[in-house]
Amino acid sequence: MSEELKPVEIIDSPVYMNYSFAAGRATSNFLRSIKEGKLVGQRSSITGKVIVPPRGSDAETGTPTFEEVELPDTATVIMFTVVYIPIPNSKVQPPFIVANMVLDNSDQTFIHLVSGCKNEDVKIGTRVKAVWRDKSEWAYSFNNIEYFQPIAGEAPVDIDALRAKRLKEVEAFKHA
């Protein structure tokens, strides 16, 4: 058989690492809630800020967080990028937008897709709302939200002003 075959020049050399991922109590509660179509964060008793998805502690002060806070599914785009390479095994076609957003009444950004609009229409400060997948598809996953879509009729907000407003709001929840 060697006569017809070329010398070996390349080999497959994949590396697969199989983890068992434990979400932790706080994130487990977040995932249980999102399975029901609800977004639940946690408030730091020290800073008053709301963290979502919650990790059970406040990274700013290193203290545990306990108070759960239900949040709306509307958010503001803080940063975004237009992606020109496809996501493997995804229906999402490039160019698409991946944005860093902050949910209303929360203080920590998260990353998700922004779609359902022209890419050119997305700005820093664009107001968006979650587009949920069909309820039958809901799992323990942030992907229950297919993407965030700009809210028609809402003008982009000034994110510096938004930050200042939030910092004032969280004062009320700060540990005395």
């Binding site: 058989m1 060697s2 075959l5 010398p7 070996v8 020049e9 390349i10 080999i11 497959d12 050399s13 994949p14 590396v15 697969y16 690492m17 199989n18 983890y19 068992s20 991922f21 434990a22 979400a23 932790g24 109590r25 994130t27 487990s28 509660n29 995932l31 249980r32 323990y140």
Partner: protein, 154 residues
């Protein structure tokens, strides 16, 4: 992985799931390792002649002592001698062999260095340092170390 036995020891409040992180690398093998893998695919073992005339198998691209670039490929038989070994009583999924076996350093006849591979000897009692072994070739060979399914007592 999703139902690892460890999960039973933890409280049920915590969600767990399997997560596979994969890197689908390919790598170029160069002329020397390439010759070795090509040989395996074709059912042959090759080594390479070192600066001091000793035969290195599996072949290296450079002499281990002098760092001189090597190129003289040497054909070798598919038999050898177990130099040292370790018995694996509970094979892992990635070991391919499902029955207990030995990892062994095998000096191919005509070579001066040893090759790490498996020996399917049936039981630990059949393993012995200095025992003669021969290659059991895999049915489907593609130019990879697993083209040698394992060695077996000769």
């Amino acid at each position: 992985m999703a139902n690892s036995p460890a999960s039973a020891q933890h409280d049920d409040d915590v969600l767990r799931d399997g997560f596979e992180l994969g890197f689908t690398y390919t790598r170029s093998v160069g002329p020397v390792i390439g010759a070795f893998l090509t040989g395996l695919r074709d059912g042959k073992i090759v080594g390479i002649k070192g600066s001091n005339g000793k035969v290195i198998c599996p072949p290296t691209e450079y002499d281990p002592q002098t760092s001189e670039e090597l190129s003289e490929i040497v054909n070798l038989p598919s038999t050898g001698t177990v130099k040292t070994w370790s018995w694996i009583s509970q094979p892992h999924k990635k070991h391919i062999l499902t029955q207990p076996f030995a990892w062994a350093l095998i000096q191919i006849d005509g070579a001066d260095t040893s090759l790490l591979h498996k020996v399917d000897a049936g039981s630990e009692a059949n393993m012995k340092t200095g025992m003669k072994v021969k290659v059991r070739w895999a049915d489907d060979r593609r130019g990879f170390i697993t083209d040698i399914a394992c060695f077996e007592p000769a």
